[in-house]
C-alpha cells in the first residue's frame, strides 16, 4: 500500500523528514508515533501528495509521489490535524462539496450513509459552526471516507476529544480495519495506538523502529512473567535462574518475576521446576510494559 525509499523533506535549514524507508502492508493499521515537530504531519503530507519530497521516493496505492499526484489524492482519504470544515455551511453541504470534488458518483447516497453511520444525520442541515469539536471531527472522518478509499491517513484522530467521542472514533477506526482498509495513523495517544495498531513506527525526524507493539515491548524490555507463590525463598530463585532460557529472575514479596523471550514455551517448564522445589504456584500472569514505556525509551534514546 505504501512504500517509501529514503524519503526526505527539508525546509530551508530544517530537516523535517530524514531518509524514511518504510512499508505499510494492505489491510494493516500502522501507527506513526513521535513527539511534536517530529515530522509526522510532513510525512503524511508527502504521502498524500500535498507537498513534494526533497529527495527519495514513495509509492502510494501503486502511484508514484511527485509523478501521479492527482491519482494519489483521488485514491486516498485524509483526516487532517484540524477538521477544517466550512463553518457557515451545513454538514450535508460540506460533505456534498467534497463528494463532488472526489468525483463520487452517488454523492447524496454516500453523504447520507456516512452521516447516519457517524450519528450526524439528524443534524445534517445545521451549520457546522453549531457543532461540538467531537461532531466536527466525526464529520471530518466522514469527509475522508466519502469516496471509499482503501487507504486512509488519520492525523491525530482523537486529539482534543472527550472520552466518549474518542471511544466512538476508535470504534469506527476498528470497523474500518475490519472492512480491510489500510490505515496510516499519526497519534500521540499511546493507549489508542496499542489497541488499534498492528504495527507501530516510532519517528523523530527519522524512523527509530518499526514493529508490532508486543515485539517492541519484548525487544526493549524482554517479556516478564509473574509467578504468584504462597511463599518464596532464595533456593527457588536460584533454581529458576539456572534454567537456560531464563534471562533474569527476582523476588518481589511473594511474587517471582522472571524475564523470558518466549513465555508461552517456557512457562510450563518453570512451573514444573517451581513445584519440584516445593513452591505452591497460585497464579501466573504477564507483566506488561505500557507502550508509553516503549515510546519514552526510544524517543529519549534518540
Amino acid at each position: 500500500m505504501i512504500q517509501t525509499q529514503q524519503l526526505t523533506k527539508r525546509f530551508k535549514d530544517v530537516l523535517a523528514v530524514d531518509r524514511l524507508t518504510l512499508e505499510v502492508r494492505p489491510g494493516e493499521v500502522f501507527g506513526f508515533l513521535g513527539p511534536n515537530g517530529a515530522g509526522k504531519t510532513t510525512t503524511v503530507r508527502m504521502l498524500t501528495s500535498l507537498i513534494g519530497p526533497t529527495s527519495g521516493s514513495a509509492v502510494v496505492n501503486g502511484f508514484r509521489v511527485g509523478e501521479q499526484d492527482t491519482e494519489i489524492r483521488r485514491s486516498v482519504g485524509i483526516l487532517t490535524e484540524t477538521p477544517g470544515m466550512y463553518d457557515n455551511l451545513s454538514a450535508e453541504r460540506n460533505l456534498r462539496i467534497f463528494g463532488e470534488l472526489y468525483e463520487v458518483r452517488n454523492v447524496a447516497e454516500q453523504v447520507a450513509k456516512y452521516l447516519k453511520l457517524l450519528g450526524l444525520y439528524e443534524r445534517r442541515f445545521d451549520p457546522v459552526a453549531e457543532f461540538s469539536k467531537g461532531m466536527k471531527q466525526k464529520l471530518a472522518i466522514a469527509r475522508a471516507l466519502l469516496h471509499e478509499p482503501k487507504l486512509i491517513f488519520l492525523d491525530e484522530p482523537t486529539a482534543g476529544l472527550d472520552p466518549e467521542a474518542s471511544r466512538l472514533v476508535r470504534d469506527f477506526i476498528a470497523e474500518l480495519k475490519a472492512e480491510g482498509r489500510t490505515i496510516f495513523m499519526c497519534t500521540h495517544n499511546l493507549d489508542e495506538a496499542d489497541r488499534l495498531c498492528d504495527r507501530i513506527g516510532v519517528f523523530k525526524s527519522h524512523l527509530l523502529v518499526v514493529d508490532t507493539p508486543a515485539k517492541l515491548r519484548a525487544s526493549l524490555f524482554g517479556r516478564k512473567v509473574v509467578f504468584h507463590l504462597r511463599s518464596t525463598d532464595a533456593k527457588m530463585i536460584q533454581t529458576v535462574s539456572k534454567l537456560p532460557f531464563v534471562r533474569g529472575a527476582r523476588a518481589v514479596e511473594n511474587k517471582l518475576v522472571v524475564t523470558l523471550d518466549d513465555p508461552e514455551a517456557n512457562n510450563p517448564e518453570i512451573i514444573r521446576t517451581l513445584v519440584k522445589a516445593g513452591a505452591d504456584v497460585q497464579f501466573v500472569g504477564e507483566l506488561r510494559h505500557s507502550l508509553e514505556d516503549v515510546y519514552f525509551q526510544l524517543v529519549k534514546g534518540a
Partner: protein, 268 residues
C-alpha cells in the same frame, strides 16, 4: 471545469453569509449609481437657466471641451457631461472594491478555518482552485458593475430629454471603461488580494491592505478634476491595454504564490 464550478458555488455559499460582503456587493453599486444620477438631475435643474452658457467654452481647457463637449451640445449640457464624468470615474471603484472584499474573506477565511488542507487533498488542480476562487470574486463584481451601469443608463434616459446629451453621457469612452476596463480592474483587484491574503491572517486586514488597489482609480478621479489629463476615448483604450498587461503579470505572480506547498507551509 466542473471542479471550478464546485469551488465557485462553495465560495458564494460561504462568502455571502458575511454581512460585510453582502453590503459591499449590494450597497456600493447602488450608491455609485445614485451619485451620478443625482448629479445629472441636479445639474439639469441648474443648466436649464443657461447660466453656464459661454463659461464652458471660455474657461474649460481645449482637450476637456473636445472630450466632453461634442458639437451640438450647449454649455450647460457640456457641464453636465463633465460633472457626470467625474462621478463615473468613482463608479470604477465598484469592480475594484467588490472582489477585494470577497477575496479577503474567501482566502483568509480558508486560513482561519484551516479548510485549505482538506481542500488541497482532493484531486483538484491548483489551477482549478485558483480559477474558482478568482471567478467567485470577479463575477459578482462584473455583474454588479454592468447592472449598476444599466441602472445608470436607464436613469439617465428618464432624466435627460436631449438625445444628444444622452449619447454624450453614454459614449464609447464609458462603454469601453465599463465593459473592458471594469472586468480587467476586477481581475487585477482579485489577484492583488490573493497575494495580500496569502500574507495576513485576518480578513479585515487583508481587505484594508488590498484596498490600496483603489488608489489608481482615485488618482484618475482627482487627476481629471485637477485638469492633469482628460479621460477621452484614446486614453481609456490605452488604460485597457495597460490593464491587460498588468493583469497578465499579476495572474502569473498569483500562480507562483498560489502553490500547494507554499499555501500549506507558509499560510499561517
Amino acid at each position: 471545469m466542473n471542479k471550478i464550478k464546485i469551488i465557485l458555488c462553495k465560495e458564494w455559499a460561504e462568502v455571502f453569509k458575511h454581512r460585510m460582503v453582502l453590503f459591499t456587493v449590494v450597497f456600493l453599486p447602488l450608491m455609485m449609481t445614485a451619485l451620478p444620477l443625482g448629479i445629472l438631475w441636479g445639474t439639469g435643474e441648474v443648466g436649464s437657466t443657461d447660466s453656464l452658457e459661454g463659461t464652458i467654452d471660455s474657461e474649460m481647457p481645449e482637450p476637456l471641451v473636445a472630450a466632453m463637449c461634442p458639437e451640438g451640445l450647449s454649455g450647460a449640457d457640456c457641464f453636465q457631461v463633465f460633472m457626470v464624468s467625474q462621478f463615473m470615474m468613482l463608479f470604477m471603484l465598484v469592480p475594484v472594491a467588490i472582489p477585494v472584499t470577497i477575496a479577503a474573506y474567501s482566502i483568509v477565511g480558508e486560513k482561519t478555518t484551516r479548510s485549505l488542507e482538506p481542500l488541497l487533498a482532493t484531486p483538484i488542480t491548483t489551477l482549478e482552485l485558483l480559477a474558482g476562487k478568482c471567478l467567485a470574486a470577479v463575477i459578482p463584481a462584473v455583474l454588479a458593475t454592468f447592472g449598476a451601469f444599466g441602472l445608470f443608463a436607464l436613469g439617465s434616459r428618464l432624466i435627460v430629454a436631449n438625445p444628444m446629451l444622452l449619447t454624450a453621457l453614454l459614449d464609447a469612452r464609458w462603454l469601453i471603461a465599463i465593459f473592458v476596463v471594469g472586468p480587467l480592474l476586477a481581475i487585477m483587484a482579485v489577484t492583488f488580494s490573493l497575494m495580500v491574503s496569502s500574507r495576513v491572517s485576518d480578513p479585515r486586514v487583508a481587505e484594508q491592505v488590498s484596498m490600496v488597489i483603489i488608489v489608481p482609480v482615485l488618482g484618475g478621479f482627482f487627476g481629471q478634476m485637477a485638469g492633469l489629463f482628460v479621460l477621452d476615448r484614446t486614453l481609456v483604450t490605452w488604460v485597457a491595454v495597460v490593464m491587460l498587461a498588468l493583469d497578465l503579470g499579476l495572474l502569473f505572480l498569483a500562480g507562483r504564490v498560489f502553490q500547494r506547498e507554499t499555501i500549506l507551509t507558509r499560510w499561517k
